[in-house]
Amino acid sequence: MDLITPGTGLIFWQLFGFLGLLFILIKFAWKPMLAALDERESSIENALKSAETARNEMANLKAENEKLLTEARLERDIILKKAQDASVKMIDEAKEDAIKAGAQMIANAKAVIETEKKAALADIKTQVASLSLEITEKLLRKNLSDDKAQKELVDGFLNELKLN
Protein backbone atom coordinates (compact mmCIF):
# COMPACT_ATOMS: atom_id res chain seq x y z
CA MET A 1 0.00 0.00 0.00
CA ASP A 2 1.30 3.40 -0.87
CA LEU A 3 2.38 5.88 1.73
CA ILE A 4 0.37 8.88 0.58
CA THR A 5 -2.64 7.13 -0.95
CA PRO A 6 -5.31 6.69 1.66
CA GLY A 7 -6.70 3.14 1.57
CA THR A 8 -10.49 2.90 1.26
CA GLY A 9 -10.67 0.14 3.87
CA LEU A 10 -8.82 2.13 6.49
CA ILE A 11 -10.88 5.25 5.70
CA PHE A 12 -14.06 3.22 6.18
CA TRP A 13 -13.01 1.62 9.47
CA GLN A 14 -11.44 4.81 10.78
CA LEU A 15 -14.55 6.86 9.96
CA PHE A 16 -17.05 4.48 11.52
CA GLY A 17 -14.76 3.40 14.32
CA PHE A 18 -14.01 6.95 15.34
CA LEU A 19 -17.62 8.11 14.97
CA GLY A 20 -18.78 5.11 17.00
CA LEU A 21 -16.26 5.91 19.71
CA LEU A 22 -17.28 9.56 19.57
CA PHE A 23 -20.99 8.86 20.01
CA ILE A 24 -20.53 6.23 22.70
CA LEU A 25 -18.16 8.44 24.64
CA ILE A 26 -20.33 11.55 24.25
CA LYS A 27 -23.36 9.68 25.54
CA PHE A 28 -21.78 7.54 28.27
CA ALA A 29 -18.54 9.28 29.18
CA TRP A 30 -18.18 12.95 28.40
CA LYS A 31 -21.70 14.13 29.21
CA PRO A 32 -21.81 12.60 32.71
CA MET A 33 -18.17 13.48 33.27
CA LEU A 34 -18.42 17.11 32.20
CA ALA A 35 -21.63 17.44 34.20
CA ALA A 36 -19.89 15.99 37.26
CA LEU A 37 -16.94 18.35 36.74
CA ASP A 38 -19.29 21.32 36.38
CA GLU A 39 -21.15 20.24 39.48
CA ARG A 40 -17.94 19.90 41.44
CA GLU A 41 -16.61 23.21 40.20
CA SER A 42 -19.84 25.01 41.02
CA SER A 43 -19.97 23.39 44.45
CA ILE A 44 -16.41 24.53 45.09
CA GLU A 45 -17.29 27.98 43.83
CA ASN A 46 -20.37 28.06 46.05
CA ALA A 47 -18.33 26.95 49.02
CA LEU A 48 -15.80 29.68 48.34
CA LYS A 49 -18.59 32.21 47.90
CA SER A 50 -20.33 31.21 51.12
CA ALA A 51 -16.99 31.36 52.93
CA GLU A 52 -16.53 34.83 51.53
CA THR A 53 -20.04 35.82 52.63
CA ALA A 54 -19.43 34.38 56.08
CA ARG A 55 -16.20 36.32 56.30
CA ASN A 56 -17.98 39.50 55.24
CA GLU A 57 -20.71 38.86 57.77
CA MET A 58 -18.12 38.31 60.45
CA ALA A 59 -16.45 41.57 59.49
CA ASN A 60 -19.84 43.33 59.55
CA LEU A 61 -20.63 41.86 62.94
CA LYS A 62 -17.26 42.92 64.25
CA ALA A 63 -17.74 46.42 62.89
CA GLU A 64 -21.19 46.55 64.41
CA ASN A 65 -19.86 45.33 67.74
CA GLU A 66 -17.17 47.94 67.65
CA LYS A 67 -19.75 50.57 66.84
CA LEU A 68 -21.93 49.41 69.70
CA LEU A 69 -18.92 49.42 71.97
CA THR A 70 -17.93 52.96 70.99
CA GLU A 71 -21.51 54.09 71.42
CA ALA A 72 -21.66 52.46 74.83
CA ARG A 73 -18.38 54.10 75.78
CA LEU A 74 -19.66 57.48 74.67
CA GLU A 75 -22.86 56.99 76.63
CA ARG A 76 -20.91 55.92 79.67
CA ASP A 77 -18.76 59.01 79.39
CA ILE A 78 -21.84 61.18 79.10
CA ILE A 79 -23.47 59.51 82.08
CA LEU A 80 -20.30 59.82 84.14
CA LYS A 81 -19.99 63.47 83.24
CA LYS A 82 -23.58 64.09 84.14
CA ALA A 83 -23.14 62.31 87.46
CA GLN A 84 -20.01 64.31 88.13
CA ASP A 85 -21.81 67.52 87.32
CA ALA A 86 -24.72 66.52 89.48
CA SER A 87 -22.46 65.69 92.42
CA VAL A 88 -20.56 68.94 92.06
CA LYS A 89 -23.83 70.78 91.93
CA MET A 90 -25.13 68.94 94.96
CA ILE A 91 -21.98 69.69 96.93
CA ASP A 92 -22.21 73.31 95.93
CA GLU A 93 -25.84 73.42 96.93
CA ALA A 94 -25.11 71.72 100.22
CA LYS A 95 -22.32 74.19 100.90
CA GLU A 96 -24.59 77.08 100.14
CA ASP A 97 -27.31 75.64 102.32
CA ALA A 98 -24.88 75.13 105.13
CA ILE A 99 -23.64 78.68 104.85
CA LYS A 100 -27.18 79.98 104.83
CA ALA A 101 -28.16 77.81 107.78
CA GLY A 102 -25.08 78.95 109.69
CA ALA A 103 -25.88 82.58 109.03
CA GLN A 104 -29.42 81.97 110.17
CA MET A 105 -28.22 80.31 113.33
CA ILE A 106 -25.81 83.14 114.02
CA ALA A 107 -28.60 85.65 113.51
CA ASN A 108 -30.86 83.68 115.84
CA ALA A 109 -28.14 83.44 118.44
CA LYS A 110 -27.54 87.14 118.21
CA ALA A 111 -31.23 87.81 118.70
CA VAL A 112 -31.34 85.47 121.71
CA ILE A 113 -28.25 87.08 123.16
CA GLU A 114 -29.84 90.51 122.70
CA THR A 115 -32.99 89.38 124.45
CA GLU A 116 -31.03 87.75 127.24
CA LYS A 117 -28.95 90.87 127.56
CA LYS A 118 -32.04 92.99 127.85
CA ALA A 119 -33.55 90.63 130.36
CA ALA A 120 -30.33 90.61 132.34
CA LEU A 121 -30.15 94.38 132.28
CA ALA A 122 -33.75 94.59 133.39
CA ASP A 123 -33.00 92.14 136.17
CA ILE A 124 -29.95 94.10 137.16
CA LYS A 125 -32.04 97.27 137.24
CA THR A 126 -34.63 95.63 139.46
CA GLN A 127 -32.01 94.25 141.72
CA VAL A 128 -30.23 97.64 141.89
CA ALA A 129 -33.57 99.26 142.72
CA SER A 130 -34.34 96.74 145.44
CA LEU A 131 -30.81 96.96 146.75
CA SER A 132 -31.01 100.73 146.86
CA LEU A 133 -34.37 100.41 148.56
CA GLU A 134 -32.95 98.07 151.09
CA ILE A 135 -29.96 100.34 151.61
CA THR A 136 -32.30 103.26 151.95
CA GLU A 137 -34.46 101.31 154.35
CA LYS A 138 -31.42 100.34 156.40
CA LEU A 139 -30.22 103.94 156.39
CA LEU A 140 -33.58 105.17 157.36
CA ARG A 141 -33.90 102.61 160.04
CA LYS A 142 -30.55 103.78 161.50
CA ASN A 143 -31.46 107.45 161.19
CA LEU A 144 -34.83 106.91 162.82
CA SER A 145 -33.69 104.79 165.68
CA ASP A 146 -34.06 107.61 168.26
CA ASP A 147 -37.38 109.20 169.14
CA LYS A 148 -36.37 112.59 168.12
CA ALA A 149 -35.73 111.52 164.60
CA GLN A 150 -39.06 109.60 164.53
CA LYS A 151 -40.92 112.60 165.72
CA GLU A 152 -39.27 114.83 163.22
CA LEU A 153 -40.24 112.34 160.47
CA VAL A 154 -43.78 111.96 161.72
CA ASP A 155 -43.93 115.63 161.88
CA GLY A 156 -42.59 115.84 158.38
CA PHE A 157 -45.31 113.41 157.14
CA LEU A 158 -47.95 115.13 159.09
CA ASN A 159 -46.88 118.39 157.58
CA GLU A 160 -47.06 116.96 154.22
CA LEU A 161 -50.43 115.40 154.96
CA LYS A 162 -51.70 118.65 156.24
CA LEU A 163 -50.65 120.38 153.23
CA ASN A 164 -52.70 117.95 151.21
Binding site: L3, F12, G17, F18, W30, E39
Partner: protein, 342 residues
Protein backbone atom coordinates in the same frame (compact mmCIF):
# COMPACT_ATOMS: atom_id res chain seq x y z
CA UNK B 1 14.05 5.44 37.15
CA UNK B 2 16.03 6.76 34.16
CA UNK B 3 18.46 3.83 34.50
CA UNK B 4 15.61 1.36 34.47
CA UNK B 5 14.10 2.91 31.34
CA UNK B 6 17.48 2.84 29.61
CA UNK B 7 18.10 -0.78 30.52
CA UNK B 8 14.63 -1.86 29.45
CA UNK B 9 14.81 -0.03 26.12
CA UNK B 10 18.27 -1.44 25.44
CA UNK B 11 17.00 -4.92 26.16
CA UNK B 12 13.97 -4.45 23.94
CA UNK B 13 16.10 -3.01 21.16
CA UNK B 14 18.56 -5.89 21.42
CA UNK B 15 15.65 -8.30 21.35
CA UNK B 16 14.27 -6.70 18.21
CA UNK B 17 17.68 -6.65 16.58
CA UNK B 18 17.92 -10.35 17.33
CA UNK B 19 14.57 -10.96 15.68
CA UNK B 20 15.23 -9.05 12.55
CA UNK B 21 18.95 -9.54 12.05
CA UNK B 22 18.64 -12.98 10.44
CA UNK B 23 16.25 -11.65 7.86
CA UNK B 24 17.97 -8.48 6.88
CA UNK B 25 21.64 -9.01 7.56
CA UNK B 26 21.88 -11.50 4.76
CA UNK B 27 20.21 -9.48 2.01
CA UNK B 28 21.46 -6.65 -0.20
CA UNK B 29 21.44 -2.91 0.58
CA UNK B 30 17.83 -2.63 -0.61
CA UNK B 31 16.68 -5.50 1.59
CA UNK B 32 18.40 -4.10 4.64
CA UNK B 33 16.22 -0.99 4.68
CA UNK B 34 13.06 -2.26 2.99
CA UNK B 35 11.57 -3.20 6.36
CA UNK B 36 11.37 0.51 7.19
CA UNK B 37 8.81 1.34 4.53
CA UNK B 38 7.16 -2.00 5.09
CA UNK B 39 6.57 -1.07 8.72
CA UNK B 40 5.46 2.49 8.02
CA UNK B 41 2.85 1.44 5.46
CA UNK B 42 -0.34 -0.48 6.06
CA UNK B 43 -0.31 -4.25 5.48
CA UNK B 44 -2.67 -7.17 4.98
CA UNK B 45 -0.83 -9.22 7.59
CA UNK B 46 0.75 -8.35 10.89
CA UNK B 47 4.34 -9.47 10.84
CA UNK B 48 5.91 -9.72 14.30
CA UNK B 49 9.17 -11.61 13.89
CA UNK B 50 11.13 -14.03 11.78
CA UNK B 51 13.24 -16.87 13.20
CA UNK B 52 15.32 -18.24 10.37
CA UNK B 53 12.63 -19.29 7.93
CA UNK B 54 9.73 -19.23 10.43
CA UNK B 55 7.59 -16.11 10.19
CA UNK B 56 5.53 -15.12 13.21
CA UNK B 57 2.59 -13.32 11.65
CA UNK B 58 -1.06 -12.62 12.26
CA UNK B 59 -3.03 -13.27 9.08
CA UNK B 60 -5.76 -10.69 8.62
CA UNK B 61 -9.11 -10.85 6.85
CA UNK B 62 -9.39 -9.39 3.36
CA UNK B 63 -12.86 -7.98 2.75
CA UNK B 64 -13.83 -6.90 -0.77
CA UNK B 65 -17.04 -5.53 -2.21
CA UNK B 66 -17.60 -5.46 -5.95
CA UNK B 67 -20.74 -4.69 -7.94
CA UNK B 68 -20.75 -8.02 -9.76
CA UNK B 69 -19.67 -10.37 -6.95
CA UNK B 70 -20.99 -8.67 -3.79
CA UNK B 71 -19.23 -8.85 -0.43
CA UNK B 72 -16.42 -11.41 -0.13
CA UNK B 73 -14.16 -12.48 2.74
CA UNK B 74 -10.72 -14.08 2.40
CA UNK B 75 -7.78 -14.72 4.64
CA UNK B 76 -4.59 -12.89 3.72
CA UNK B 77 -2.76 -16.23 3.79
CA UNK B 78 -4.60 -17.13 0.57
CA UNK B 79 -2.63 -14.49 -1.29
CA UNK B 80 0.91 -15.31 -0.20
CA UNK B 81 3.65 -17.86 -0.50
CA UNK B 82 3.30 -20.11 2.55
CA UNK B 83 7.06 -20.52 2.78
CA UNK B 84 8.28 -16.92 2.44
CA UNK B 85 5.05 -15.10 3.38
CA UNK B 86 5.63 -12.81 0.40
CA UNK B 87 2.67 -11.38 -1.49
CA UNK B 88 2.73 -11.31 -5.27
CA UNK B 89 0.56 -11.25 -8.33
CA UNK B 90 1.39 -14.91 -8.96
CA UNK B 91 -0.46 -15.94 -5.77
CA UNK B 92 -3.88 -14.85 -7.04
CA UNK B 93 -6.92 -16.33 -5.28
CA UNK B 94 -10.55 -16.21 -6.49
CA UNK B 95 -9.71 -13.47 -8.98
CA UNK B 96 -7.90 -11.21 -6.50
CA UNK B 97 -4.23 -10.80 -5.70
CA UNK B 98 -2.07 -8.75 -3.35
CA UNK B 99 0.99 -7.37 -5.13
CA UNK B 100 4.50 -7.07 -3.66
CA UNK B 101 3.64 -3.55 -2.41
CA UNK B 102 0.84 -5.07 -0.30
CA UNK B 103 -1.77 -3.55 -2.62
CA UNK B 104 -4.97 -5.49 -3.38
CA UNK B 105 -5.76 -5.87 -7.08
CA UNK B 106 -8.23 -7.73 -9.26
CA UNK B 107 -7.08 -10.05 -12.00
CA UNK B 108 -9.74 -8.94 -14.51
CA UNK B 109 -9.12 -5.26 -13.56
CA UNK B 110 -12.80 -4.45 -12.94
CA UNK B 111 -13.67 -2.10 -10.09
CA UNK B 112 -14.05 -3.10 -6.43
CA UNK B 113 -13.99 -1.50 -2.97
CA UNK B 114 -11.81 -2.87 -0.21
CA UNK B 115 -12.84 -3.01 3.45
CA UNK B 116 -10.06 -5.28 4.66
CA UNK B 117 -9.17 -5.47 8.31
CA UNK B 118 -5.55 -4.48 7.79
CA UNK B 119 -2.80 -4.06 10.36
CA UNK B 120 -3.76 -0.43 10.92
CA UNK B 121 -7.44 -1.34 11.31
CA UNK B 122 -6.50 -3.79 14.08
CA UNK B 123 -4.36 -1.04 15.62
CA UNK B 124 -7.33 1.30 15.26
CA UNK B 125 -9.56 -1.16 17.11
CA UNK B 126 -6.98 -1.50 19.88
CA UNK B 127 -6.78 2.28 20.27
CA UNK B 128 -10.58 2.57 20.21
CA UNK B 129 -10.87 -0.09 22.91
CA UNK B 130 -8.15 1.45 25.10
CA UNK B 131 -9.56 4.97 24.80
CA UNK B 132 -13.16 3.81 25.15
CA UNK B 133 -12.39 1.62 28.14
CA UNK B 134 -10.43 4.37 29.90
CA UNK B 135 -13.10 6.98 29.25
CA UNK B 136 -16.01 4.75 30.24
CA UNK B 137 -14.35 3.54 33.43
CA UNK B 138 -13.52 7.15 34.26
CA UNK B 139 -17.16 8.11 33.67
CA UNK B 140 -18.42 5.22 35.80
CA UNK B 141 -16.35 6.60 38.68
CA UNK B 142 -18.39 9.81 38.59
CA UNK B 143 -21.64 7.87 38.34
CA UNK B 144 -20.73 5.88 41.45
CA UNK B 145 -19.10 8.58 43.53
CA UNK B 146 -20.65 11.83 42.33
CA UNK B 147 -18.68 15.04 42.22
CA UNK B 148 -15.68 14.10 44.37
CA UNK B 149 -11.91 14.05 43.86
CA UNK B 150 -11.03 11.57 41.09
CA UNK B 151 -9.30 8.20 41.52
CA UNK B 152 -8.19 5.44 39.18
CA UNK B 153 -9.06 5.91 35.50
CA UNK B 154 -10.85 9.16 36.37
CA UNK B 155 -7.59 10.53 37.77
CA UNK B 156 -5.90 9.84 34.41
CA UNK B 157 -8.71 11.11 32.21
CA UNK B 158 -9.89 14.07 34.27
CA UNK B 159 -6.76 16.24 33.93
CA UNK B 160 -6.86 15.63 30.17
CA UNK B 161 -10.54 16.52 30.02
CA UNK B 162 -9.96 19.69 32.02
CA UNK B 163 -6.89 20.55 29.95
CA UNK B 164 -8.78 20.12 26.67
CA UNK B 165 -11.81 21.96 28.01
CA UNK B 166 -10.04 24.93 29.60
CA UNK B 167 -6.76 25.33 27.72
CA UNK B 168 -7.83 24.25 24.26
CA UNK B 169 -11.59 24.66 23.85
CA UNK B 170 -12.31 27.63 26.11
CA UNK B 171 -9.31 29.62 24.94
CA UNK B 172 -9.64 28.92 21.22
CA UNK B 173 -13.41 28.74 20.69
CA UNK B 174 -14.80 31.32 23.09
CA UNK B 175 -18.20 31.42 24.78
CA UNK B 176 -19.71 28.61 22.67
CA UNK B 177 -16.94 26.13 23.51
CA UNK B 178 -19.11 23.69 25.47
CA UNK B 179 -20.69 22.09 22.38
CA UNK B 180 -17.31 21.10 20.96
CA UNK B 181 -15.56 19.85 24.09
CA UNK B 182 -16.66 16.17 23.71
CA UNK B 183 -15.36 16.00 20.12
CA UNK B 184 -12.08 17.67 21.05
CA UNK B 185 -11.49 15.37 24.04
CA UNK B 186 -12.19 12.27 21.94
CA UNK B 187 -9.92 13.61 19.21
CA UNK B 188 -7.10 14.34 21.66
CA UNK B 189 -7.31 10.96 23.38
CA UNK B 190 -7.57 9.09 20.08
CA UNK B 191 -4.57 10.82 18.51
CA UNK B 192 -2.54 10.70 21.72
CA UNK B 193 -3.09 7.03 22.42
CA UNK B 194 -2.70 6.23 18.72
CA UNK B 195 0.68 7.96 18.76
CA UNK B 196 1.78 6.38 22.03
CA UNK B 197 0.66 2.83 21.25
CA UNK B 198 2.25 3.19 17.81
CA UNK B 199 5.61 3.62 19.54
CA UNK B 200 5.43 0.17 21.11
CA UNK B 201 7.85 -2.07 19.20
CA UNK B 202 5.89 -4.22 16.76
CA UNK B 203 2.84 -1.95 16.80
CA UNK B 204 1.43 -0.37 13.65
CA UNK B 205 1.96 3.18 12.46
CA UNK B 206 -1.75 3.98 12.70
CA UNK B 207 -1.80 7.74 13.36
CA UNK B 208 1.01 8.03 10.81
CA UNK B 209 -1.30 6.73 8.11
CA UNK B 210 -2.78 9.32 5.81
CA UNK B 211 -6.20 7.63 5.71
CA UNK B 212 -6.55 8.02 9.48
CA UNK B 213 -5.42 11.63 9.55
CA UNK B 214 -7.59 12.33 6.49
CA UNK B 215 -10.73 11.17 8.30
CA UNK B 216 -9.91 13.19 11.41
CA UNK B 217 -9.15 16.30 9.34
CA UNK B 218 -12.37 15.87 7.35
CA UNK B 219 -14.38 15.59 10.57
CA UNK B 220 -12.86 18.83 11.82
CA UNK B 221 -13.54 20.40 8.42
CA UNK B 222 -17.19 19.33 8.54
CA UNK B 223 -17.69 20.48 12.12
CA UNK B 224 -16.03 23.81 11.34
CA UNK B 225 -18.09 24.60 8.26
CA UNK B 226 -21.41 23.23 9.50
CA UNK B 227 -21.11 25.55 12.50
CA UNK B 228 -19.83 28.49 10.47
CA UNK B 229 -21.87 31.60 11.31
CA UNK B 230 -22.67 34.69 9.24
CA UNK B 231 -19.45 36.48 10.13
CA UNK B 232 -17.40 33.44 9.09
CA UNK B 233 -18.98 33.10 5.65
CA UNK B 234 -18.96 36.86 5.19
CA UNK B 235 -15.26 36.77 5.88
CA UNK B 236 -14.86 34.17 3.15
CA UNK B 237 -17.06 35.63 0.42
CA UNK B 238 -17.15 39.36 1.25
CA UNK B 239 -13.93 39.84 3.14
CA UNK B 240 -14.49 43.06 5.10
CA UNK B 241 -12.19 45.98 4.43
CA UNK B 242 -11.06 44.74 1.04
CA UNK B 243 -11.72 46.82 -2.11
CA UNK B 244 -14.23 45.13 -4.49
CA UNK B 245 -11.62 44.51 -7.19
CA UNK B 246 -9.30 42.83 -4.74
CA UNK B 247 -12.13 40.47 -3.79
CA UNK B 248 -11.53 38.73 -7.12
CA UNK B 249 -8.20 37.59 -5.73
CA UNK B 250 -9.04 37.38 -2.04
CA UNK B 251 -12.20 35.26 -2.33
CA UNK B 252 -10.54 32.37 -4.19
CA UNK B 253 -7.68 32.53 -1.69
CA UNK B 254 -10.18 32.40 1.19
CA UNK B 255 -11.99 29.47 -0.43
CA UNK B 256 -8.72 27.61 -0.93
CA UNK B 257 -7.96 28.51 2.69
CA UNK B 258 -11.04 26.58 3.83
CA UNK B 259 -9.45 23.41 2.44
CA UNK B 260 -5.81 24.08 3.23
CA UNK B 261 -6.57 24.20 6.95
CA UNK B 262 -7.76 20.57 7.24
CA UNK B 263 -5.18 19.57 4.64
CA UNK B 264 -2.47 20.97 6.89
CA UNK B 265 -3.98 19.08 9.84
CA UNK B 266 -3.94 15.86 7.86
CA UNK B 267 -0.37 16.23 6.58
CA UNK B 268 1.12 17.50 9.84
CA UNK B 269 0.11 14.51 11.93
CA UNK B 270 0.87 12.00 9.17
CA UNK B 271 4.34 13.43 8.55
CA UNK B 272 5.29 13.92 12.18
CA UNK B 273 4.43 10.37 13.22
CA UNK B 274 5.66 8.62 10.08
CA UNK B 275 8.92 10.56 10.16
CA UNK B 276 9.45 9.56 13.78
CA UNK B 277 8.97 5.88 12.94
CA UNK B 278 11.29 6.17 9.93
CA UNK B 279 14.03 7.82 12.00
CA UNK B 280 13.85 5.11 14.68
CA UNK B 281 13.86 2.32 12.11
CA UNK B 282 16.61 4.10 10.18
CA UNK B 283 18.88 3.96 13.21
CA UNK B 284 18.07 0.29 13.65
CA UNK B 285 18.84 -0.29 9.95
CA UNK B 286 22.30 1.20 10.44
CA UNK B 287 23.25 -1.86 12.45
CA UNK B 288 22.33 -4.12 9.52
CA UNK B 289 24.02 -1.95 6.92
CA UNK B 290 27.36 -1.71 8.72
CA UNK B 291 27.08 -5.16 10.31
CA UNK B 292 29.05 -3.85 13.27
CA UNK B 293 28.48 -4.26 17.01
CA UNK B 294 29.86 -0.77 17.70
CA UNK B 295 27.38 0.80 15.33
CA UNK B 296 24.72 -1.45 16.78
CA UNK B 297 25.32 -0.17 20.31
CA UNK B 298 25.51 3.44 19.14
CA UNK B 299 22.36 3.16 17.06
CA UNK B 300 20.55 1.45 19.94
CA UNK B 301 21.42 4.36 22.18
CA UNK B 302 20.20 6.75 19.51
CA UNK B 303 16.99 4.75 19.11
CA UNK B 304 16.39 5.02 22.84
CA UNK B 305 16.96 8.76 22.68
CA UNK B 306 14.72 9.22 19.64
CA UNK B 307 12.06 7.11 21.33
CA UNK B 308 12.03 9.52 24.25
CA UNK B 309 11.69 12.42 21.82
CA UNK B 310 8.90 10.54 20.07
CA UNK B 311 7.01 10.30 23.37
CA UNK B 312 7.15 14.07 23.44
CA UNK B 313 6.18 14.33 19.77
CA UNK B 314 3.24 11.98 20.35
CA UNK B 315 1.85 14.35 22.98
CA UNK B 316 2.70 17.54 21.11
CA UNK B 317 1.08 16.29 17.90
CA UNK B 318 -2.09 15.25 19.74
CA UNK B 319 -2.15 18.69 21.37
CA UNK B 320 -1.47 20.51 18.09
CA UNK B 321 -4.11 18.56 16.17
CA UNK B 322 -6.71 19.28 18.86
CA UNK B 323 -5.63 22.89 19.28
CA UNK B 324 -5.79 23.65 15.56
CA UNK B 325 -9.15 21.90 15.26
CA UNK B 326 -10.41 24.06 18.11
CA UNK B 327 -9.00 27.20 16.50
CA UNK B 328 -10.65 26.44 13.16
CA UNK B 329 -13.95 25.78 14.92
CA UNK B 330 -13.40 28.93 16.96
CA UNK B 331 -12.91 31.04 13.83
CA UNK B 332 -16.19 29.66 12.46
CA UNK B 333 -18.33 30.34 15.54
CA UNK B 334 -16.73 33.60 16.73
CA UNK B 335 -19.27 36.44 16.84
CA UNK B 336 -16.73 38.92 15.51
CA UNK B 337 -14.01 37.52 13.27
CA UNK B 338 -10.57 38.40 14.59
CA UNK B 339 -9.49 39.69 11.17
CA UNK B 340 -12.28 42.26 10.78
CA UNK B 341 -9.70 45.01 10.81
CA UNK B 342 -7.79 43.89 7.70
Amino acid sequence: MTRKILVISLLISAFLLGFTSNTYAAGGEEDKTSFIMHHVKDSHEWHFATFGHTHVTLPLPVIVYSGDRGLEFFSSTNFQNHETHLFGEEYAHEGYFIDEHDHLGRVDESSFVEFSITKNVIMLFIVLIVVGWLALSAASFYKKNGAVAPKGAAAIIEPIVIFVRDDIAKNSIGPQYKRFVPYLITLFLFVWFGNLLGLIPGAANMTGNIAVTLVLAVLTFIITNVNGNKAYWKHVFMTPGVPPLMLLIIVPVEIIGLFTKPFALMVRLFVAITAGHIVILGFIALAFIFESYTIGIASTLMVTFINLIELLVATIQAYVFTLFSAMYIGSAVAEHAHDDHH
